[in-house]
């Protein structure tokens, strides 16, 4: 039996266990005991869980160990003793024989594999029957145990609750573990990169022109400073010059001036804007804004303005970030106690004086936190810059020049035919790690500031 069939079996019995448990609980209800501790459904779930969880755990383990068990059994056979000792062709022979044995492949190419096929078949059916027997045994053992525990005063509800909690915990751990895994793989690949290219060149070099082959002691063109600069210039400078004033002003308008009616319309619209796929912004940047910016730049005398200029990407990115800044600023301003505002208004201050002298300074930490989050979002943003920013690693502060960013170069390094161990690919991981660390730090600082600020008014 295959794993799928076994799983099907498990769930079928789980269903049966549910009905049996429920019926058993229902049978407790009589005129003498009209109320039992838990509803019959909970008894059903309790029985089901005991019937299915142990065999499922067993099957998970089994999937992982059974191939090794089967191979060992095959190799223990005298017929298998004759195959070559060269580990590479040996494992090729074994895997081919296994593929034929379980029917996922027909043809045999490797010398000596055909005599292993019957061995594999035998081993497989032997272990299949063991798995089948073990699964059935676990289903019935669990089910019977659960059945014996069902009593009128049995707290099936709390027991099921515990399982639910455990399942939720497991689900939340998956996200955490995935993050850990991602970081680990980034670190690992980045480490491989710095064994090839000097980290000093990578972090402080100004020449970005990655070579395919690394020559130790030479400049290999892996100086990432132009990329870091481009990222900061587009994401943290140009984008923020757009996003901060517009975001702040819309937050001020929404919290202080707009009618509740307008606010209830405007907030969802801002949220929709925040949900527009970035590729759409990318199109907007590349097709509409970039040519307009170039024409404008040429008009005011920058004859060398590039069509993939930093300005277009940065401005559109800033527009993309406006809702984020606006909503963070809106929250912070709204969190300033109304008593501050009333105190200022009662002094005879106008609304805008109150905003400027009282509300904004009081909301500043929250606003700054929001801006840092926005910066971290902007420097990690990929689609807009890939579509609108350039690929040339220029170290310039001219917003009309073509400037590249970390994310653009990661994409460039990974596209095309790349060997996984090549310096290009590894450089992409190293860039990714730098980006990850910077955004992580920004987020941590931002959240810390925002939290401190919240506490100040609680």
């Amino acid at each position: 039996m295959t794993i799928n069939e076994l799983l099907f079996l498990v769930f079928a019995f789980g269903l049966i266990a549910w009905f049996v448990g429920r019926a058993r609980a229902a049978s407790f209800i009589s005129s003498e005991t009209p109320i039992i501790n838990s509803l019959p459904n909970y008894h059903g779930w309790f029985a089901t869980l005991w019937a299915i969880v142990p065999p499922i755990l067993f099957l998970i383990v089994w999937i992982n160990i059974s191939p090794a068990l089967i191979t060992n059994m095959v190799l223990a056979n005298p017929d298998a003793a004759s195959i070559t000792a060269d580990s590479f062709s040996r494992s090729a022979i074994l895997s081919e024989a296994r593929a034929v044995a379980n029917g996922s492949s027909q043809a045999l190419f490797q010398e000596g594999s055909e005599k292993l096929v019957p061995l594999y078949k035998a081993a497989q059916s032997y272990y299949d029957s063991i798995a089948f027997a073990a699964t059935l045994l676990l289903i019935f053992a669990g089910g019977t145990y659960a059945y014996t525990r069902l009593k009128p005063d049995f707290r099936a509800r709390t027991n099921v609750e515990k399982v639910v909690m455990f399942a939720l915990l497991l689900a939340s751990l998956i996200a955490v573990l995935t993050t850990v895994g991602i970081v680990a793989s980034l670190v690992f690949e980045a480490y491989r990169f710095v064994t090839l290219v000097s980290p000093f060149e990578f972090l402080f070099g100004t020449n970005w022109n990655p070579r395919d082959t690394i020559v130790a002691g030479e400049d290999n063109g892996y100086g990432a400073i132009p990329l870091f600069w481009g990222t900061i210039f587009i994401g943290a400078i140009i984008a923020m010059i757009v996003a901060i004033p517009f975001g702040l002003m819309s937050a001020i308008f929404l919290t202080q001036y707009s009618t509740p009616m307008f606010r209830s319309w405007m907030k969802p619209i801002l949220e929709i804007l925040a949900g527009v796929p970035t590729v759409v912004y990318g199109y907007f940047a590349a097709l509409t804004v970039a040519p307009a910016v170039r024409d404008f730049a040429v008009m005011i005398g920058f004859s060398n303005a590039a069509s993939d200029n930093a300005m277009a990407a940065g401005v559109v990115m800033g527009i993309m970030i406006i809702p984020l800044v606006a909503s963070m600023a809106d929250d912070s301003i709204a969190a300033v106690p109304g008593a501050m505002r009333d105190g200022s208004l009662a002094m005879g201050a106008t609304k805008s004086e109150t905003i400027k002298h009282i509300l904004l300074p009081a909301a500043l930490p929250g606003v700054v936190g929001g801006i840092l989050l926005a910066v971290s979002r902007a420097i990690g943003e990929t689609m807009i810059v890939v579509m609108a920013a350039g690929y040339a690693a220029n170290l310039t502060a001219n917003p009309f020049a073509s400037i590249t960013t970390v994310t653009v170069q990661i994409v460039a390094l990974l596209t095309g035919d790349q060997d996984f161990g090549s310096p290009h690919t590894l450089a992409a991981f190293a860039l990714g790690l730098v980006l990850f660390i910077v955004t992580l730090l920004l987020n941590l600082v931002a959240l810390h500031i925002v939290k401190k600020y919240r506490e100040a008014y609680e």
Partner: protein, 267 residues
């Protein structure tokens, strides 16, 4: 209720005998009426106390006097309120100027999250009352002195106003109101968040400020009203039930509702 307003020497033409004259004031929150046809006179030399059970409209009425109800979108004010004979709800009245003339102290001390100095300097700065730093220093010192806070804070004017104790914060708020040289000071339960010692200091301060400013104090504490005020207005369910000399109100109330409240039959 005009007969209740006749305790002081009103000249018949109504000119500047009273600092504030309110006539037939109604206040609504949307459709709900919170103040019902209130008429009252407040003068310079007396401290006026507003008493009455919670929710009877004391704060609402107080806020009509510096038009802070304007900041509540659902609030609507009808009737006539005159400050020095000029209708404060007249379109020609500048609300910003009005609030500089009618200062307010809130129930919970609400110093700005700025230094003590900047808290006081805020009003003079926005109204352009000081030509230079030296003048501003004088205003700050004088205001703090009047509020009885100078000796406690003179060495730490750059500390945050929010770092002071509750009672000091409330006196800071009074000093802040004084700094713009108002004519009227409205206090909405200024001691309800303070301990007895801090309360005593504020009451003492009110005594000292009497006569310099027309003072209206809302309080739910009748002993306090008796201690600090010379005129008392009793509000109930949005009505001004009785208004008169404080000692008369407490010893010889004319209305049974007033008597019931003062003797603690409800509250």
């Amino acid at each position: 209720m005009a007969e209740q307003n006749s305790q002081s020497d009103t000249s018949d033409d109504g000119t500047d005998a009273h600092k504030i004259t309110a006539r037939n004031v109604n206040v609504f929150y949307d459709d709900k009426q919170a103040i019902d046809d209130v008429s009252i006179d407040v003068d310079m030399e007396n401290v006026t106390a507003f008493i009455g059970p919670s929710g009877c409209g004391k704060s609402t009425f107080l806020r009509t006097i510096n038009r802070m109800n304007d900041t509540i979108p659902s609030a609507r004010v009808e009737g006539e309120i005159k400050l020095d004979g000029k209708d404060i709800y007249d379109p020609s009245m500048d609300v910003v100027q009005l609030r500089a003339r009618v200062g307010m102290v809130f129930q919970k001390p609400n110093p700005f999250p700025k230094s003590i100095y900047d808290n006081i300097a805020y009003g003079p700065n926005i109204h352009g009352l000081a030509a230079n730093k030296a003048e501003l220093d004088i205003i700050v010192e004088r205001s703090l002195q009047r509020a009885g806070l100078w000796n406690e804070v003179k060495d730490r004017l750059s500390d945050s106003g929010t770092a002071l104790s509750g009672g000091q914060q409330q006196r800071l708020c009074i000093a802040r109101a004084i700094a713009v040289d108002p004519e009227v000071i409205l206090m909405d339960e200024p001691c309800s968040a303070l301990d007895p010692i801090a309360t005593a200091k504020i009451e003492e301060l009110i005594h000292e400020l009497r006569g310099k400013y027309a003072i209206i104090i809302v309080t739910h504490n009748m002993q306090q009203a008796a201690r600090v005020s010379q005129r008392t207005a009793f509000f109930h369910l949005g009505n001004l039930v009785e208004f008169g000399v404080t000692s008369d109100i407490f010893t010889n109330p004319q209305k049974t509702r007033t008597q019931d409240y003062i003797t603690g039959r409800y509250g």
